[in-house]
């Protein structure tokens, strides 16, 4: 009886501490479904930055909660799965490998410009929201940059149904899935990557007119925003 009187306040205190202390969230596999698309006839290589293997973002809310989200290798997994579905041939280039030694139509270098999230105590709603700003640089097989495309992805999840850490995890996965959908939908329009296939075909033909193909897109004109 005496014992239970000590246990109950201890449990209550533990619950209170747990409910206002934030959480460490890990996203291991942001697996996207196989896209219902026709792959572009391109031989594409991708080179990932080191941060794609261990991305951790922390946020302290009003001096109270501390939330951290560890995306681990999930960006690498996401982009590999995505590009593998989007192009007829796809390979990942190791960081120390020189792309000039490889045969490809296009080299894609994705990166993360910014990562942000909000928790219910910040937004005064019961939602967790995640924003990710990726940047996709595309180079042709001679190393000339043909596109520099910033994309903003967003995901949100209600805290009530699944609990705080799961809601943040889900919001992050939804943001990554949103990025994948946006890339599938707009990549060619924004970067003109499919023209590299035409360039490839024309280069192999006897009378090449590759130089006339307008490869530089408006997306390539944009300069990276380093402010955030």
């Amino acid at each position: 009886m005496h014992q239970s009187r000590k246990i109950v306040p201890a449990l209550l205190t533990a619950m209170l501490v747990a409910s206002c202390g934030g959480a460490n969230v890990t996203v291991n596999d942001p697996s996207i479904p196989k896209p219902l698309i026709v792959p572009l006839p391109l031989n594409v290589a991708a080179k990932y930055p080191d941060v794609f293997d261990h991305f951790v973002h922390e946020e302290k809310v009003m001096g109270k909660e501390k939330w951290s989200i560890d995306l681990g290798r999930s960006n690498r997994l996401l982009f590999t799965q995505l590009f593998d579905s989007m192009f007829t041939e796809f390979n990942v280039v190791a960081t120390d490998e020189d792309p000039k030694d490889l045969m490809f139509d296009a080299l894609i270098e994705p990166s993360i410009d910014a990562f942000e999230f909000s928790v219910p105590s910040q937004s005064q709603t019961d939602e967790f929201a995640v924003w990710i700003r990726y940047r996709i640089k595309i180079f042709d097989n001679e190393g000339v940059q043909i596109a520099n495309w910033p994309i903003a992805a967003y995901g949100k999840s209600l805290a009530g149904s699944v609990g705080g850490d799961h809601a943040l995890q889900r919001a992050a996965i939804l943001a990554m899935r949103d990025a994948a959908a946006l890339i599938i939908l707009q990549m060619d329009k924004a970067t003109g990557i499919s023209k590299l296939s035409e360039a490839h075909v024309n280069r192999d033909m006897p009378s090449s007119e590759t130089e006339d193909i307008p490869l530089q897109t408006t997306a390539a004109e944009e300069t990276p925003d380093e402010s955030s």
Binding site: L36, R177, A181, L185
Partner: protein, 227 residues
């Protein structure tokens, strides 16, 4: 044996009575606007989805699953295909960012490679887009609670009013058109009087809106009435 039966019946009656007493007052209005004829054949089903949060929609996940369960329940229940299964099968065409905002975008969507076939394989005849939310629109009263070594208790009175406004747009994937909309507007006030123990008298507006919308939606889809 007979005495035990009587006791059980009395308890059940008490439970039913207290259940009825412990719910607040609710008023509801259900409407539908038909734009095209509907009807559903054997082997055809529906998908219930939330309108995109990219468009500012806040429909609760539990409301969507509630409507899905209610529409599929009973002898006249419709075949409801889980929305995650549908969205995954058609990735990326029904993502919050990419799903068509209006029914007039359906022909373009269906002309994309593999989309029409995948929808046919899944047996989806209608997509129902849910929009709306439950909001607390007013409230008042006060209550204080205290606890000490000898026990605890509350004293006071609180009330709040919830409005559940939802609209379901029904898109016909066969005719590639908007079949119409069904809407539910449920309003209710909950009370919480407390003399030592708080006694909640809850107006379950969201639950009521879910059941009413689901019933009307089922009738709307099955019905072959003319426009």
């Amino acid at each position: 044996m007979k005495a035990a039966n009587n006791q059980t019946t009395r308890r059940l009656l008490m439970l039913a009575l207290s259940g009825a007493l412990m719910s607040g007052c609710v008023t509801s209005r259900i409407e539908n606007i038909r734009e095209n004829t509907t009807g559903i054949a054997e082997g055809e089903g529906i998908v219930i989805m939330a309108k995109s949060y990219h468009l500012g929609n806040e429909t609760e996940a539990k409301f969507i699953s509630c409507v899905g369960n209610s529409v599929g329940r009973g002898s006249k229940g419709l075949h409801v295909i889980p929305n995650t299964e549908f969205v995954d099968a058609l990735f990326p065409w029904f993502e919050p960012r990419t799903a068509p905002a209006e029914a007039k975008g359906l022909p373009t969507l269906m002309s994309r490679p593999g989309v029409a076939q995948k929808i046919k394989d899944k047996g989806v005849r209608y997509v129902v887009w849910l929009d709306g939310e439950t909001e607390k629109v007013a409230g008042g009263g006060s209550m204080s609670c205290a606890a000490g070594p000898g026990g605890g208790g509350c004293f006071g009175f609180a009330w709040w009013q919830n409005d559940s406004n939802y609209e379901a747009s029904v898109w016909d994937l066969d005719g590639l058109e908007n079949a119409g909309t069904v809407s539910a507007d449920v309003s209710g006030t909950s009370y919480l009087p407390a003399i030592v123990v708080p006694i909640p008298l809850l107006a379950r507006t969201q639950n009521k809106a879910c059941n009413a919308l689901a019933d009307q939606l089922r009738l709307f889809i099955i019905s072959d009435e003319q426009v």
